[in-house]
Amino acid sequence: MNDVSQSLSDYEQAARQQETRRNWLLCTPALVVLVLAASGPLLVMLFYSFLKSGNYGGVIYEFSLDGWFNVILVRDIFDDVLRFADAHLSVFWRSIKLSAMTTITCVIIGFPTAYFIATRPRRSRNFWLFLITIPFWTNLLIRTFAILELIRNNGVINNLLMDLWLIDEPIQIMYTDTAIMIGMTYVYLPLMILPLYASMEKLDFQLVEAAYDLYATRIRVLRRVIIPLIKPGIVAGSILVFIPSLGAFVTPRVLGGGKNLMLGNLIQLQFDQGQNWPLGAALSITLLAIVMVTLLVYVRYSQRSGGQDG
């Protein structure tokens, strides 16, 4: 860099500086809003996580690590002994378990669907893709509501099964982990299909032909050629589904009821009935940290496989 700038004429340097200043000026208004209502508050939240909880919400401006302790530990009110906060740990476990199961289900449904779209004639592919995009951009709450109507005790599925005399009593799906998983799979499925399709569109089907030519059966072509080549798409789609699942709030709240909490709901509780803002802040930062680590691992992965391709 230095060599280049030294060899530039003063005029050139001035022009570059002016361009940089212009660029920053153009970005400043957006950055101000983002600092005020996105990144700034995150820092304030980090600060709050180290304060003492107020009695009726809010905080007392005193340093305390209680918020962070309470993420996984709880002080027994009777004998003052620290124990693992089983309730919190089970919420963490449920969040990770349901997010992983949602991701796997999305791969199982999304992979064949993306493959189906990628093998349509070029002209009709946009149409099928559009069908995936529409739910992607429509309201998540409404799509959750649509699932609610299907699986309620007197919802469409239960009524249909009872009308057909297949069951005598409605199957209880609502307010279970299964309900949350069905809902999250439904709302995040397009996030899996779109990157999978992007990978498959680039798949060279001559490689598939070559594999068949070399005596690979369909299952082996899938396992040894198609899946390894689509892997970047599978990983990208999994990240795109796993991350919002982990932070899901609306879907578990509507379909999971009061008992089947996920991380997002546990966080919200601290600002609602729990009135423990430092704990809520610490939980939020924990969630953010998990997401960031996942993203970082992903970036490393894609850089590595990208480097190999180039």
């Binding site: 508050p41 995009t133 529409i134 709450l141 509501f145 649509a146 932070g247 997401v291």
Partner: protein, 276 residues
């Protein structure tokens, strides 16, 4: 040898390199799964009965009910006011930012700017919502101001990346030689922007604004945490109602909201397709 000329092999079993066992079945099932719940929801919004389970005939009863419900009216109005403002502000800010970050030599801080702009896409919404709650609640307590400003600035912030993406994509496809030609023909930078850049960029700006509008209109989580008492938008109103007894009125509201989203997204799709 005579039988060689008979019609060949069984058509149904012929091999195709594109087919994998069960894939088409799963794909068709997937499309049905994606659309059946939405279609059933919309279907029951036209139910004349008050049950979500029993079909009693076609009517617009619940649309009228929603239309006449004063709470729904207020929430609708608030949703529109916030979404229109957020779309307008975020599009203006995103356009400026896009002009500052595309078609330029790499400059110091560029990556930082990208990270800032895309932050709302990477940070889980619940985390941003809680952070905003903490900050805004403190400000509300300190100043006593409880107005819409908090919701508008929050929505504007998370709409910026959505408005930014299509505008930036459009800008990157545009050739700087046009602006150079304008400058050669005596246009000042501002006039060249008005007469050349802006008209060419317009489809991108339009798509960005519509996207921002849809995103703001549909937001639940951040609104739920930032709103003051009595500031329910349509989605937060719905979220509250879902915990109570649900009537087809909810289906009618949801269907109307759905129609707006689908319409705008289809428009964006058409705008983008014309480009290519």
């Amino acid at each position: 040898m005579a039988n060689l000329h008979a019609a060949p092999v069984n058509k149904g079993k012929l091999f195709s390199i594109y087919k994998l066992p069960g894939f088409t079945f799963i794909a068709v099932a997937c499309f049905l799964m994606l659309y059946a719940p939405i279609l059933i929801l919309v279907g029951y919004s036209f139910n004349s009965g008050s049950s979500l389970a029993l079909w009693e005939g076609l009517s617009l009863r619940w649309y009228f009910a929603a239309w006449e419900n004063e709470t729904v009216q207020g929430a609708t109005l608030l949703s529109l006011v916030i979404a229109l403002q957020a779309a307008l502000y975020s599009t203006v800010l995103a356009t400026m930012a896009a002009l500052g970050t595309t078609r330029t030599r790499p400059f110091r801080g560029q990556t930082a700017i990208y990270t800032m702009i895309n932050q709302p896409l990477m940070v889980p919404e619940i985390v941003t919502a809680v952070a905003l709650l903490i900050v805004f609640a403190t400000i509300k307590q300190a100043t006593g101001y409880q107005g819409l400003g908090f919701l508008v600035i929050a929505h504007t912030a998370f709409c910026i990346p959505f408005a930014y993406l299509p505008i930036r994509a459009r800008l990157e496809d545009m050739d700087t030689s046009l602006e150079t030609a304008a400058a050669d023909l005596y246009a000042t930078p501002w006039r060249s922007f008005r007469r050349v850049t802006l008209p060419l960029l317009w489809p991108g700006i339009l798509a960005g604004a519509m996207l921002a509008f849809v995103i703001s209109l549909d937001d639940v989580v951040i609104t739920e945490f930032v709103k003051s008492a009595g500031q329910d938008t349509l989605p937060t109103y719905m979220l509250g109602q879902l915990r109570r007894v649900i009537t087809p009125e909810m289906n009618a509201i949801a269907s109307a909201l759905l129609a707006v989203s689908v319409l705008l997204v289809s428009l964006i799709f058409l705008i983008n397709r014309k480009k290519t």
